[in-house]
C-alpha cells in the first residue's frame, strides 16, 4: 500500500467517524504532496480566457502601420510619444502596448513576457458561442467533441494524487476542463467547505466561517460541543455522493469532498500575496490572487483556468481610455501582480491569455468594432522568450486581411498551446489533446525556449 492511498483511507474513515477534517495531521499531508512533486515542483499552465473577443489591435497596437490609424479614425491609440500618457507604449518600433497595459511593460522589457500576434482559431463563424466552444474543446469545426483540451491533456499526464491538478477559479466548470478527468471548480477558496452545523458550533465555540445564528427550534440537548456531530452533515453528504451513480453528478460530488479535504490540509489561505504586491479589484485579480495561493500551497496545480468577460465592444470601445482600457488595466495589473506574487515560482508557471476571436480592423459605425478573426495572446513565465512580438503579422491593407476585413489567424491557437504543452509541460504526444490536428514543432512561433 502506498502512502497516498493510505492517506485517502485515513481521511475517509476519519470523516465518516465524524472527526473534524481540520484535525487531520497537516504535516503528513504536506509531506505527501511534497513527495509527489517528482524531482521538484510540478509545472503549471495557467490559461486566462478573455470572453467576448478582445480587440487585439488595440491591445498590442501596430502603430507603425499607417493602415491602422486609417481604419480607426476615432478609436486608434496614438503612436508612442514621450510624456504622452494616452499614447501607446513602444515595444519594438512597430508595435506598442495599449497605455492601460503599462503594468506589463517592465515584464516585457525584462523578458518575462512575450506576445504572439495574429493568433486565433481557424473557424470563421464569428460566433462567440461557437468560437469559445471550439477554443475550449480544441476541435474547431467539430461540435460533437464532448470534452475540453485541458481535460484531455490532464488525462495524458502521469497519475497524480493531487485533487487540484486541474482547477478553475470559476463557479461553473468551464468547457475546456470538462471531461473524464477530475477537475475542480471553485469560486472562493475561503468558502469551500460544507457549512458546519450551526447549533453545534455555537455551543462548541469553534471559530469558523459561515456561522450566522442558531436555527429555530433546533437545539439539541446533550449533544452540544461534541466533535462527533460537528461535521455530521458534511459526512452525510459525503456518503450520499460517494454512493451516487458514477455519472457526472456523482463524480462531481465525490471530487467536491476530495477537494475539501485537500484544501483543509494545505490551507492555502495562509499564503497571502507577497509584500508590495496588490492585485487589482475585480474578478480577474481575485481569481489570480487565489490561484497563486493554491500554487504556493503546493496543492499540485498543473492545469489552471481563470476567465474575464466583457470584451465585446461593438460600441464606444474607447481609445486610450474607455471601456477597453478599463478591462486592459485590470488584465495588465492582474498579470503583473500574479508574476510578482509568485516570484521565483514563475520559473515553473506559464500563463497564456486567449480570446475566441479578434475584431474588425476597421471601426464600425458606433466607435466600436465588430466580430473579426485573429487577435493577440500574452505568454508569461517559465521558459518564455519574452521581450518580443512573435508570429507573422501582415500589413493592414485590405488584400492582406482575412475576408478583406479582419486580422488573419497566422498562428493556430493549437500550435501556441501545443508549444506550451511541449516545451513547458514536457509532453510531446498531443494527438489525443487535439484530435484531428497535428501539432508540429515547425509551426511553433518560438514563444518559449525549447
Amino acid at each position: 500500500m502506498t502512502l497516498n492511498s493510505s492517506r485517502r483511507i485515513f481521511l475517509k474513515s476519519s470523516a465518516l467517524a465524524g472527526v473534524v477534517f481540520g484535525a487531520a495531521p497537516r504535516s503528513l499531508m504536506r509531506s505527501v504532496f511534497a513527495a509527489e512533486a517528482r524531482g521538484g515542483r510540478p509545472k503549471t499552465f495557467v490559461v486566462v480566457f478573455q470572453r467576448g473577443a478582445c480587440d487585439g489591435l488595440n491591445t498590442v497596437v501596430p502603430y507603425g502601420d499607417g493602415g491602422y490609424r486609417k481604419a480607426r479614425p476615432s478609436i486608434a491609440i496614438p503612436a508612442p510619444k514621450d510624456g504622452d500618457a494616452a499614447a501607446a507604449i513602444d515595444l519594438d518600433g512597430h508595435f506598442g502596448l495599449h497605455p492601460a497595459l503599462s503594468d506589463l511593460a517592465p515584464l516585457y522589457r525584462s523578458g518575462a513576457l512575450g506576445i504572439v500576434h495574429a493568433v486565433g482559431s481557424p473557424d470563421n463563424s464569428r460566433s462567440h458561442f461557437d468560437c469559445q466552444d471550439f477554443m475550449e474543446s480544441g476541435t474547431p469545426g467539430v461540435k460533437s467533441t464532448s470534452d475540453g483540451w485541458m481535460n484531455r491533456f490532464s488525462a495524458a499526464l502521469p497519475r497524480t494524487e493531487s485533487k487540484f491538478r486541474s482547477v478553475a477559479l470559476t463557479q461553473t466548470l468551464p468547457r475546456v476542463l470538462r471531461g473524464a478527468s477530475p477537475a475542480v471548480a471553485l469560486a472562493r477558496i475561503d468558502d469551500f467547505h460544507v457549512r458546519e452545523d450551526i447549533a453545534m458550533s455555537e455551543a462548541a465555540g469553534m471559530p469558523r466561517a459561515g456561522r450566522r445564528g442558531a436555527m429555530e427550534g433546533g437545539s439539541r440537548p446533550g449533544m452540544a460541543g461534541t466533535k462527533d456531530a460537528d461535521d455530521s452533515s458534511a459526512a452525510a453528504f459525503e456518503k450520499l455522493y460517494a454512493d451516487a451513480a458514477k455519472d457526472m453528478l456523482g463524480n462531481a460530488g465525490r471530487e467536491t469532498f476530495e477537494a475539501i479535504e485537500a484544501l483543509k490540509a494545505a490551507d492555502p489561505a495562509r499564503y497571502t500575496p507577497r509584500a508590495g504586491v496588490s492585485y487589482p479589484r475585480g474578478r480577474l485579480g481575485d481569481s489570480l490572487k487565489q490561484m497563486a495561493q493554491l500554487i504556493k500551497a503546493d496543492l499540485g496545480v498543473e492545469l489552471a483556468f481563470v476567465d474575464i468577460g466583457g470584451w465585446d465592444h461593438h460600441t464606444a470601445e474607447g481609445a486610450s481610455t474607455g471601456q477597453l482600457a478599463n478591462l486592459l488595466r485590470q488584465l495588465g495589473g492582474s498579470l503583473s501582480a500574479f508574476h510578482d506574487d509568485l516570484d521565483d515560482r514563475m520559473r515553473d508557471v506559464v500563463v497564456l491569455t486567449m480570446t475566441e476571436f479578434g475584431r474588425t480592423v476597421r471601426e464600425n459605425g458606433n466607435r466600436g468594432t465588430d466580430h473579426g478573426h485573429g487577435s493577440v495572446s500574452f505568454v508569461m513565465g517559465g521558459p518564455v522568450k519574452g521581450g518580443r512580438v512573435h508570429g507573422r503579422f501582415p500589413r493592414l491593407s485590405e488584400e492582406n486581411l482575412y475576408e478583406g476585413r479582419d486580422l488573419p489567424v497566422n498562428t493556430d491557437f493549437r500550435d501556441l498551446v501545443g508549444e506550451v504543452l511541449v516545451r513547458h509541460m514536457v509532453v510531446s504526444d498531443l494527438r489525443k489533446v487535439f484530435p484531428g490536428y497535428e501539432v508540429k514543432p515547425q509551426a511553433f512561433v518560438g514563444a518559449l525556449r525549447s
Binding site: S125, A187, G218, D243, A244, M248, G282, H314
Partner: protein, 589 residues
C-alpha cells in the same frame, strides 16, 4: 376553474404511443390536445410536475392527482384568464414591477450628464489613488456594504442635486426584477407560463447592466409573456422592436454610413419630435472621456443584432447563413431604433419605444439567404423576420431547444423532427409544438425521467416549493442563485444560459447547493421561513420528510445513509430536510 374551450371528450384523442404514426391530422387546424390516456399514476404526475413547473409542491401534486395528468397539462397550456390574486399580493410590494420603461427612467435613471461626471470624477480619483475600477457599471456599487452604499449615495446627492428627485438607485430596479422572478416561479399557479416566460427570455437574452436596458426589461418581459404560447413570428417581431433588444444588440444605432444625424430631426422623420441635439451623448453608457478624441462621430452599420438574430434567435449557427447574409440583414435593419435614443436623438425623451428612422436606413434591395428583399424601408426588416420565422432551420432550432428544455439534454432526434413538423404545419404555433412534445412517448415514458439536472434557479425555487417555505424577502434567494453561477437578468452574452447538466454540475456549484440546502432547512436564509412544526415535529420520520420533499423517492443507498443519520442521537429533522434537499436525487428533475 375554466379549463379552456376544449371539452374533456375532445381531449381524449391522441394516444401517446401513437404520436409517431399520427403525423399532421388532415385539415386539423385546431389543436391536437394532449392525450387523455396519459397514465395518471404518481410517477408520471411527479415527472410532469418536475418538467412543467419549478418543482412539485404539495398543492400542485394534489391537484394533478385530482384532475389527472392530461387535464392538468391542458390547464397549464390554456390557463384560466382569472387573476392569480395570491401571486399578485406577493408581487405588490415590488413597486417598480408595475412601472413601464418611461416611468422607471423618470424615477430611477441617473441623468446621462450626471452619470458621466460621476464616472469621470471616480476615474480621476482612482487614478490618483493608483487604483483601477474596471468593474462593470453597478458592480462596484454592489461590492460595497450597506453603509458604504448609503454614504456614497448621500455624497452623490450633495454633489448632484438633480439626483435628489430620484426615487432610488437603478440597482433597486434590477433587484426587484430578480425578486419578482423568484416569487413568480415559486408561487405562480400558472407554472408553465412562468417556465415559458423564462425559456423565451433566456432564448432572447438581454443583459440588464448594459446602459438603460435595466429599465426596459419589465416591458420587454411583459411582451414576451403575452406571446409565450402564441405564434413564434409574433414573438420574434415583438423582440426585434423592443427597446431592450434594440439597445442590447446595438441595432438602435446601426445606420447608413452616409447618414448624418441632423437629417433625422426634420420634424416629419421621427414621430414629429424635432429636438435636435448638437451634443449627442456617447454611444454607450461606458466612460469615453478621452478629450483628445476627434470630436466627429462615426456612424455606420453595426452587425451585432443581425448576426445574433440568425445565430441565436432563429436559424441556429448551422442554419445556413453566411457572413454576407449578416451584412445584408444588418443593412435591412438600419434605422430600426428607439425613439428618444436614436443617433443624436433628444436625450430627454424617455419614452423608449420602437421607431423606424427612414433617413438612417440603407436604401436598395437586400439579398438574404438566396432571396431578394426589395427596397422597402421598414418593411424589409419585417419581411426578413417572416423569412426567418418560417425557415425550416428555425423550426428545427426552436424545436430542439424546447425538447432540450422539457425532455433531455441530448434531445431525441425523432421528437425534434415531429415538433419541427408541427412548428411548420401550424405556422410556428408554440402551444401546438408544446402539445406535440408533451404528448410524446419520449416525454411521458420512463426513458428520460430524472434525466435532467436542475439549473441553480430551478434548484433554489424547487427547494422553496418542496418545503412550502414562506418567502418574505426573495433577495437572499436571488443572491444565492447568482452565487451558483446564474445571476438572473445578468447573463452578459446573448446566448443566455445553457440548458444542459454539464453547465451546472461542478464542485463549486454542488457545494453551494449543499450549503443552501442546510441553510434553508435550518432557517438561516434571511427572509425565508420554513414551517418548523410541519417538518420538525416529533412524529415526523425520514419517510414522511422525504415523501414531501422528494416525492420521486430516495435511492435505497441514500435512504440507508439518511436513516443512519436520523437514528443518531440528536439529529433533528431540520438537518434531515437539508440533507434531502442537498442530496443527489434532489438535484435531478
Amino acid at each position: 376553474m375554466n379549463r379552456n374551450r376544449y371539452s374533456d371528450a375532445a381531449l381524449r384523442v391522441v394516444l401517446a404511443g401513437q404520436m409517431a404514426v399520427l403525423g399532421p391530422a388532415p385539415g386539423a387546424l385546431a389543436a391536437s390536445p394532449v392525450t387523455a390516456s396519459v397514465p395518471s399514476d404518481d410517477a408520471t404526475a411527479i415527472h410532469v410536475l418536475n418538467r412543467l413547473t419549478f418543482g412539485p409542491s404539495e398543492k400542485d401534486l394534489a391537484r394533478v392527482r385530482r384532475v389527472g395528468v392530461s387535464a392538468w397539462i391542458e390547464e397549464q397550456l390554456r390557463p384560466s384568464a382569472a387573476a392569480d390574486t395570491a401571486l399578485a399580493t406577493r408581487l405588490a410590494p415590488l413597486e417598480t414591477l408595475q412601472m413601464d420603461t418611461a416611468e422607471l427612467r423618470a424615477k430611477y435613471e441617473i441623468p446621462p450628464d450626471v452619470r458621466q461626471q460621476i464616472q469621470k470624477a471616480r476615474a480621476e480619483r482612482d487614478a490618483a489613488e493608483g487604483k483601477t475600477s474596471a468593474a462593470a457599471p453597478g458592480e462596484r456599487f454592489e461590492q460595497m456594504d450597506a453603509k458604504a452604499r448609503r454614504e456614497e449615495r448621500e455624497a452623490m446627492v450633495k454633489q448632484f442635486p438633480q439626483l435628489a428627485n430620484l426615487q432610488g438607485t437603478p440597482q433597486k430596479v434590477v433587484g426587484e426584477l430578480q425578486a419578482g422572478k423568484v416569487l413568480r416561479a415559486a408561487y405562480a399557479e400558472r407554472q408553465l407560463d412562468e417556465v415559458m416566460a423564462d425559456f423565451w427570455f433566456n432564448h432572447f437574452n438581454v443583459f440588464a447592466r448594459k446602459g438603460p436596458v435595466e429599465f426596459m426589461i419589465g416591458d420587454y418581459e411583459r411582451g414576451i409573456r403575452e406571446r409565450a404560447f402564441g405564434k413564434f413570428e409574433d414573438l420574434l417581431v415583438a423582440v426585434a422592436q423592443s427597446p431592450a433588444m434594440l439597445f442590447y444588440l446595438d441595432n438602435w444605432q446601426s445606420v447608413d454610413p452616409g447618414f448624418s444625424p441632423r437629417d433625422l430631426y426634420r420634424p416629419q422623420t421621427m414621430g414629429g419630435r424635432p429636438r435636435p441635439n448638437r451634443n449627442p451623448r456617447p454611444a454607450d453608457s461606458g466612460p469615453s472621456g478621452n478629450t483628445k478624441q476627434p470630436p466627429r462621430r462615426a456612424y455606420g452599420i453595426n452587425e451585432n443584432y443581425a448576426r445574433e438574430l440568425m445565430e441565436l434567435h432563429t436559424l441556429g449557427v448551422d442554419g445556413g447563413y453566411t457572413q454576407a447574409d449578416v451584412v445584408e440583414v444588418a443593412k435591412a435593419f438600419t434605422g430600426w431604433t428607439i425613439l428618444g435614443e436614436g443617433p443624436g436623438g433628444p436625450r430627454r425623451n424617455k419614452e423608449s419605444r420602437f421607431a423606424f428612422a427612414e433617413p438612417a436606413h440603407v436604401k436598395g434591395d437586400k439579398h438574404v439567404l438566396g432571396f431578394t428583399i426589395r427596397n422597402g424601408g421598414e418593411k424589409e426588416g419585417l419581411e426578413i423576420l417572416h423569412l426567418l420565422a418560417t425557415h425550416p432551420s428555425t423550426a428545427k432550432f426552436i424545436s430542439r431547444k424546447l425538447v432540450q428544455r422539457f425532455v433531455a439534454d441530448r434531445p431525441p432526434q425523432a421528437l425534434v423532427d415531429r415538433a419541427a413538423a408541427t412548428f411548420t404545419r401550424t405556422g410556428g404555433d408554440i402551444r401546438e409544438v408544446l402539445r406535440t412534445i408533451f404528448s410524446s412517448e419520449e416525454f411521458l415514458g420512463p426513458a428520460y425521467r430524472s434525466a435532467k439536472i436542475k439549473t441553480p434557479f430551478e434548484f433554489v425555487v424547487s427547494s422553496v416549493r418542496a418545503t412550502g417555505a414562506e418567502v418574505k424577502n426573495p433577495r437572499p434567494l436571488s443572491d444565492k442563485i447568482g452565487a451558483m453561477g446564474m445571476p438572473l437578468y445578468l447573463q452578459q452574452p446573448p446566448t443566455g444560459y445553457k440548458d444542459a447538466a454539464e453547465e451546472w454540475v461542478s464542485t463549486s456549484s454542488l457545494l453551494e447547493r449543499m450549503n443552501f440546502a442546510l441553510d434553508l432547512a435550518a432557517g438561516r436564509v434571511r427572509g425565508v421561513s420554513i414551517d418548523q412544526r410541519a417538518l420538525n415535529n416529533p412524529s415526523a420520520t425520514l419517510d414522511s420528510v422525504a415523501a414531501q420533499l422528494l416525492p420521486g423517492g430516495l435511492s435505497p443507498k441514500s435512504k440507508e445513509t439518511l436513516e443512519a443519520e436520523a437514528a443518531k442521537d440528536g439529529t433533528n429533522k431540520a438537518m434531515l430536510v437539508g440533507l434531502v434537499l442537498g442530496s443527489p436525487e434532489f438535484q435531478r428533475k
